[in-house]
């Protein structure tokens, strides 16, 4: 086990494209670090540089106390789980798991002991002599994990290890991976594009965009306190609602309400323009908000276009009259999620998470309440967060 440190690491391809730009990241010994971001953000490249499968163009990579830039993968003492598992099809599960030990010339009895121990942990004992082709997706995934853990390496590197599983199995394996990492206490770097996975698994989450690290924080911190509009839009499901805001003297005008402007916002708002972000749960059916609490927000009326009930929650979709927001970061997120191609999505469409006790009806006008103290503000040009007074 060891800490992993990236110091100003850059990956530049021969054609000049920079996949990872000046990345600094400290991963503590035993930490479960998630690299998350939309496809093409450089998270896999970063992981592969740690593994030694990609050369590092600039910067230093430490595993433990040593700089390992020039070491081949085999001399880094790391184990990797690949997206497609990369099991050796011609070897039995036992040989797959024992391959690394065999190459390291560990003696036969010791290999058997460690493989069987790992198989027991992963519930693979009765499959040890089968070939990968005869295993289900979940079993293959566990073999890939097993291949990593039998070696007892200094770090686990996982490249979207759960993305080939179907939804239910993924949730189950997610819990298993988290439990395993917790038990073994091995430093783990885990790459995913799925923000739910990122939020539930990691000790800390590093959000990347276009090769640049956006924010590294504990999941809850990331959710409550996003550093910029990209992190705000990426983390959370359903995603944060964005709308233009305008500073007008001492108030900020949102499409449905006015909020008292505070120091930094009043100072900044006139310049680059302002985008407001509100998470779905910060809306509520006004009828369910006590009169005493209403003062912390504003009420407005909107026609509910669509109502989705998932039992414990109620998602209300409605339109707000505004011209939409212009932001490269948000456009990229929409592109990645595929929503850019859905007509009518984006501009003006807002999702609110209401209490299931709410009586709002689809197609009818409803009175909604928004918690204006929980509105996030971003600089429209840079995407940076503008903190309300004393928020930090």
């Amino acid at each position: 086990m060891a800490k992993i440190q990236l110091e100003d690491v850059t990956k530049r391809y021969p054609d000049g494209f920079e996949a990872v730009k000046h990345m600094d990241l400290d991963i503590a010994d035993g930490e479960f670090m998630i690299l998350v971001g939309p496809s093409g953000c450089g998270k896999s490249t970063a992981l592969r540089m740690i593994a030694g499968l990609e050369d590092i163009t600039e910067g230093l990579l430490y595993i433990g106390e040593e700089v390992v830039n020039d070491r081949t993968p085999k001399d880094r003492d790391i184990a990797m789980v690949f997206q497609n598992y990369a099991l050796y099809p011609h070897m039995s599960v036992r040989d797959n798991m024992g391959f690394a030990l065999k190459l390291a010339k560990v003696d036969k009895a010791e290999i058997d002991r460690r493989v069987e121990e790992a198989a027991k942990v992963l519930d693979l004992t009765q499959h040890l002599d089968r070939k990968p082709a005869n295993l289900s997706g979940g079993q293959r995934q566990r073999v890939a994990m097993g291949r990593a853990i039998v070696r007892n390496p200094r770090a686990f590197l996982m490249d979207e290890p759960l993305s080939n599983l179907d939804a239910k199995l993924r949730v189950q394996m997610r819990a298993e991976v988290a439990g395993l990492q917790d038990r073994l206490g091995t430093t783990t770097v885990y790459v995913t594009h799925d923000q739910t996975e990122a939020m539930t698994l990691g000790d800390r989450v590093a959000v990347m965009r276009a090769g640049v690290l956006q924010q590294v924080d504990a999941p809850q911190q990331l959710y409550n306190d996003p550093a910029n509009i990209f992190v705000a839009g990426f983390i959370g499901s359903p995603a944060m609602n964005f709308m233009p805001a305008r500073v007008d003297g001492s108030v900020v005008r949102l499409p449905m309400a006015e909020v008292r402007a505070s120091g930094p916002i009043a100072a900044n708002g006139g310049g680059n323009g302002l985008i407001a972000g509100i998470r779905p749960e910060h809306f509520q059916d006004a009828a369910l908000v006590g009169a005493d609490k209403r003062t912390g927000g504003a009420t407005f009326r909107a026609r509910i276009d669509l109502l989705e009930s998932v039992g414990s929650e109620l998602y209300a979709h409605f339109e707000l009259e505004h011209e939409g927001v212009e932001s490269a970061e948000l456009a990229e997120l929409a592109q990645d999620a595929g929503t850019a191609e859905v007509p009518g999505a984006g501009a003006g469409n807002v999702v609110a998470r209401l209490d299931p006790a709410s009586q709002v009806r689809q197609g009818a006008e409803a009175e909604l309440w928004v918690n204006t103290s929980r509105v996030y503000y971003f600089d429209a040009a840079t995407g940076g967060r503008i903190f309300a007074e004393g928020a930090r």
Binding site: P73, F82, A86, Y88, F99, R151
Partner: protein, 278 residues
């Protein structure tokens, strides 16, 4: 599906015609090899009136050039195949996986060699071989066979390697394998069907060749079966060696048929690669 039985009859007829068309020369050859050489001109029926194995026993009687030629054929084809496959396996791996300067040149160069008509170099090769002492030796045949079959082997194998997910090698590297170990322990076993296909193709090429074997040899020292057949003589100078040639032709065809039958599945699997999945 009321047409099914009639369709099947049509298919049967069509297939029979094709099979007969392909097999008649072979069957005729077998028939000839079973006739007495003295009756060849008179016994015109397909089934020999008085079948005999004399022709075969004459082929293998002690001191005959044929046994020696068979050894030459096997040895030369096997060694050429071995060397060609070892070289092709490594070359194909590099071509499939690595980016290096001159890659396109090597690919087009090997293709050019495959297109090159052997007959155009055989004359000069004859002179060169005589001067360097390779004439009428095993290496004298092994070298051209290897050279002319390498492009085919490289193309077949690199197609195979490309089908193997790159992650497998990376997994092996992370597991602690050197690039050479990753190649021998992971890639080679997975590419085995392709290697077999390539090996069989090279072997058949070397086994069947007449041009080099006839030009670059002068004695039983290195003469292979196809060339030896041309030098067959009858019992007397008035005796046509037709039956003996037929018997020898059957003997050289048998190993090829056996090899193809044994590896039929692998060859088909090899030619329709893509079944390798991670």
């Amino acid at each position: 599906m009321s047409h099914a039985p009639r369709d099947r009859v049509k298919w049967l007829i069509a297939i029979s015609v094709v099979v007969l068309y392909a097999l008649i020369p072979v069957l005729w050859m077998i028939s000839l090899s079973l006739k007495k050489s003295s009756t060849i001109g008179t016994d015109t029926s397909f089934f020999p009136s008085d079948p005999t194995l004399d022709n075969y026993s004459a082929l293998f009687k002690s001191g005959s050039d044929f046994s020696r030629a068979l050894v030459n054929s096997f040895g030369i084809a096997a060694i050429a195949t071995l060397i060609a496959i070892v070289l092709a396996a490594m070359a194909a791996y590099a071509l499939a996986r690595l980016q290096f300067a001159g890659k396109a040149l090597i690919l087009s160069g090997s293709l050019a060699i495959a297109m090159f008509p052997p007959i155009s170099i055989v004359g000069s090769l004859f002179n060169v071989w005589r001067n360097v002492g390779l004439f009428d030796t095993w290496p004298g045949l092994i070298i051209p066979y290897m050279t002319f079959s390498l492009p085919l082997a490289i193309y077949t194998l690199s197609a195979f390697y490309r089908e193997i997910p790159w992650e497998l090698e990376q997994a092996a590297q992370v597991d602690g394998a050197t690039p050479f170990q990753a190649f021998t322990k992971v890639i080679l076993p997975l590419a085995a069907p392709g290697t077999f296909t390539a090996a069989i193709l090279v072997f058949i090429f070397a086994w069947n060749d007449f041009l080099f074997a006839n030009t670059l040899t002068s004695t039983a020292n290195a003469r292979t079966v196809p060339a030896t057949l041309a030098f067959f003589t009858g019992a007397s100078q008035f005796d046509q060696p037709i039956a003996a040639i037929a018997a020898a032709a059957v003997v050289v065809t048998v190993p090829i048929i056996v090899v193809v039958l044994i590896f039929q599945r692998r060859i088909v699997a090899g030619l329709t690669a893509g079944a390798v999945k991670g």
